[in-house]
């Protein structure tokens, strides 16, 4: 319960920050919606308060630290599962190429789509992130610098947006039901907001928090 409450607070705070920092277009749409569909708003868009690049990364960070991302960005020889990030059951291991043990690849169970009949989640290219891309135990600044370090991520900020457009990353916002028929949790901001804030972070110099 405490965890849910803190998540709700984080989401609310983030929503406020997004509204303040980058939702000018949304704001205009909302105005016209309230004014009636055939009435054009003539009010000037509110000034976007300046938000530093490092502050923008904080919003990316809360997505990257979500269990849907973290459970496969482990620094261990196995993936994790669930919102409590418990060790993957069935002695599932990372294997030599991050796709599971020989004879028991991730694709043994995880197909390219969620399987409703069993609750087994699925997305294209299901696998662990390489060990060098572990995000475990990193704060926002450390994770940001890890992302920008070719030795750890080998991905420039410009390469991140195409990566975030892949089915595996988008799955985090459509993770389906678990084997108990309960919906898996999703990151606290929408996928569109995540892409938007990432784009703005890159455009503002992709700076990292201290």
């Amino acid at each position: 319960m405490r965890l849910q409450a803190s998540r709700a607070l984080a989401a609310a705070a983030l929503t406020c920050l997004l509204a303040l920092s980058g939702a000018a277009v949304l704001s205009a749409q909302s105005s016209s919606r309230f004014a009636g569909a055939d009435v054009q708003t003539t009010q000037p868009l509110p000034q976007r308060p300046s938000v530093s690049s490092a502050q923008l990364f904080e919003q990316i960070y809360i997505v990257l630290k979500h269990p849907r991302c973290m459970n496969c960005h482990t620094g261990e020889a196995f993936p994790r599962q669930g919102d409590d990030a418990h060790r993957h059951t069935m002695n599932v291991t990372r294997g030599p190429a991050d796709h599971g043990a020989p004879g028991l690849h991730c694709s043994t169970c995880h197909q390219s789509v969620n399987q409703a009949a069993s609750g087994v989640p699925g997305a294209p290219d299901w696998s662990l992130a390489p060990m060098r891309m572990t995000w475990q135990g990193l704060n926002a600044g450390e994770l940001c610098r890890a992302l920008r370090n070719p030795a750890k991520g080998a991905m420039t900020p410009e390469q991140m947006l195409p990566h975030f457009a892949t089915g595996l990353i988008r799955w985090a916002w459509a993770p389906g039901m678990n084997s108990h028929g309960r919906a898996r949790s999703i990151p606290p901001i929408s996928y569109a907001q995540f892409v938007d804030v990432t784009r703005r972070w890159i455009a503002s110099g992709a700076r990292c928090p201290e």
């Binding site: 020989p102 004879g103 690849h105 169970c109 390219s112 009949a117 069993s118 609750g119 087994v120 084997s179």
Partner: protein, 148 residues
């Protein structure tokens, strides 16, 4: 209609796209060697090969099987002559036997990828569950079949 290749024969089945492959094999094609256990990809009783890889067929949508080569325990060999089948008989691995077709398919996938597996390789790959506890004999039989 979904077309797939099962044990080297092209078959067409009329099922919902998200029907688990397991039910296609058992209900549509009558290949009942593959067993239903837990239904959530945990126990491994339903293991078959898809393009040579072990998969839990209870969690594999039929639509994903379209055009792919499926091998069930019935297709492991035409006359029970696969090295694993021979080793299974020599070692007298099964007790009740319910999980064994899945065990054989998982072991076959392991040997195809790693012909001389270590105990650790076997532990990592063989996550199938056996209620009778035949794990030690399974390990022994895999070692016996390795490299043959």
């Amino acid at each position: 209609m979904i077309s797939l290749i099962v044990n080297d024969r092209r078959r067409s089945v009329d099922v919902e796209h998200d029907t688990p492959l397991l039910w296609v094999l058992r209900e549509q094609l009558g290949l009942t060697g593959t067993k239903y256990g837990c239904g959530v990809a945990v126990c491994g009783a339903c293991t078959v090969h898809v393009d040579g890889q072990a998969v839990r067929s209870c969690s594999f949508p039929a639509s994903s099987a379209a055009g792919r080569r499926i091998k069930t325990v019935e297709g492991l060999s035409p006359d029970r002559s696969h090295p694993l089948q021979k080793a299974w008989i020599e070692t007298q691995v099964p007790q009740c036997g319910y999980c064994q077709s899945g065990m054989l398919m998982a072991a076959a996938a392991l040997l195809a990828e790693k012909p001389q597996p270590t105990d650790a390789d076997i532990d990592a790959a063989m996550t199938n569950i056996c209620r009778c506890g035949t794990y030690e004999r399974i390990r022994k039989a895999i070692h016996a079949a390795a490299g043959k």
